[in-house]
């Protein structure tokens, strides 16, 4: 199924876009795996994942056209 990805901060630089679509993804573990394969630099940083704007912990089932947000921590003040 297709999943829409929205990314923030430094992750936008890595994925070279703040908005993209990945295909054949069933859950967030698969998504992370595929993203890290596409963008190896991602595996070095920590980020939060939200499905339909809700932050999730652990593997989460996705559905067709789900929106997944990838958010890195910011340290600046």
């Amino acid at each position: 199924m297709d999943v829409n990805i929205i990314s923030f901060g430094a992750i936008k630089d890595i994925t070279e876009s703040n908005n993209s679509v990945l295909q054949n993804i069933n859950d967030t573990n698969q998504l992370v795996h595929q993203l890290e394969e596409l963008y190896p630099a991602l595996s070095n940083i920590k980020y939060a994942i939200a499905v339909d704007k809700k932050i999730v912990s652990g593997n989460t089932q996705l559905y067709n056209n789900a929106t997944v947000t990838i958010l890195p921590p910011f340290s600046g003040g």
Binding site: I45, K54, S57, L71, P72, F74, S75
Partner: protein, 373 residues
């Protein structure tokens, strides 16, 4: 309306706010940690609004590179203490309130003491070790934390650790990012730059959330994280929920807090001092991605049933090392001698890619402390 209230007349006019709101502000005690890009605007608006007691923690001095965004300071302030200059200027702005500067770095040794004197805490810091420390301190002490952070053109704002009426467990920073990122993977303003007005916007939002919390008006960002992008003017909101697993990452009491090395948790620098005490060991073994290895020979007693661990006798360690997973390795033995040797062997193999520790006094000492508890 008395003379003192004339200053606040325009906000008292708001029917949701009124004199009651002003009184609540006057009685409020707010601690602003970090008097930089976020802290300055937050401080200015809180002082102007009449928050009765304000504390300012910052051990830095004003530099010329601060001035494009920290507009509480002027060129004449360069080289002077931020906490003290901020306190001076805020007193000029509003002499009717009490302002206390703390011109030193907040650490796990002094944080609980200072935080205990305040009711609402604002995080305007610029590094992860202090952010995690403040978060954990606020959880321990049941204090609402108004969080703000920035990067280049983007900012994040949230209110953590604040109880709601509907008995939902309050969220904290670790429900969003359970573990600190490794040193150098996320850059700060000094490294990647920041648009001057961005911390102004985010710091003002923190002041606004603080005023809403104190006066009880509106809907503060409870269990919500707001992100803002200054380039596109887009807001994006995410819903947060408390996570039982992350609760275990927070030191359980003041002693455990004082024994948590936040600088270390946020860095990957090779550590040549492998030995840790039983308290630090207990805090660490709750981390994810951790492997505990008993390096005693098979059959040695006492057996360890209290936590999951691997058993690799010291003599086999070199040969089996490459199969060890996890970012953090804790070695244990009977008295701490063999485990220290094991830590040196593993450190030579993994360098800074893994954090490696040995339990001082061994399992015997650890079990004795368990009995005392």
């Amino acid at each position: 309306m008395n003379v003192q209230y004339e200053r606040y007349q325009r906000q008292i006019l708001l029917k949701e706010f009124g004199e009651a709101g002003q009184q609540k502000l006057q009685q409020a005690k707010v601690l602003v940690i970090g008097a930089g890009g976020l802290g300055c605007p937050a401080l200015q608006y809180l002082a102007a609004a009449g928050v009765g007691t304000i504390g300012i923690v910052d051990n830095d001095v004003v530099t010329i590179t601060n001035l494009h965004r920290q507009i509480l300071y002027s060129t004449d302030d360069i080289g002077f203490s931020k906490a003290e200059r901020a306190a001076f200027k805020l007193h000029q702005l509003n002499p009717d309130i009490t302002i206390t500067p703390y011109n030193f770095r907040l650490t796990n040794k002094n944080a609980l003491n200072i935080i205990s004197d305040y009711e609402t805490i604002i995080d305007g810091t610029d590094n992860f070790s202090t952010r995690y420390m403040i978060n954990d301190a606020c959880v321990l002490m049941n204090k609402p934390l108004v969080y703000g952070a920035i990067s280049r053109f983007e900012g994040q704002v949230a209110v953590f650790n604040c109880k709601t009426d509907n008995e939902i467990t309050p969220v904290n920073y670790r429900d969003l990012f359970p573990h600190p990122p490794k040193d150098g993977t996320i850059l700060n303003c000094a490294e990647e730059g920041v648009l001057g007005v961005l911390p102004g916007i985010i710091g003002c939002m923190q002041a606004s959330e603080t005023i809403k919390l104190i006066t009880g008006i509106g809907k503060p960002l409870l269990n919500r994280l707001l992100t803002y992008n200054a380039l596109t003017n887009q807001f994006y909101e995410l819903v947060l929920s408390a996570n039982k697993e992350t609760a275990a990452l927070i030191p359980k009491d003041e002693e455990a807090f004082a024994n948590t090395d936040y600088d270390w948790l946020c860095s990957t620098h090779a550590n040549n001092n492998f030995e840790i005490d039983h308290l630090y060991f207990d805090a660490l073994r709750k981390e994810k991605n951790i492997t505990i290895i008993d390096v005693r020979e098979h059959g040695e007693i006492p057996a360890i049933n209290e936590f999951t661990h691997l058993r690799i006798p010291l003599g086999q360690l070199q040969q089996k090392a490459s199969s060890i997973k996890g970012d953090i390795i804790l070695t244990i033995c009977q008295s701490g001698v063999r485990s220290a040797k094991a830590a040196r062997i593993l450190s030579a193999k993994f360098g800074a890619t893994k954090k490696i520790f040995s339990l001082q006094g061994g399992i015997i000492n650890w079990k004795n402390h368990q009995l005392k508890q």
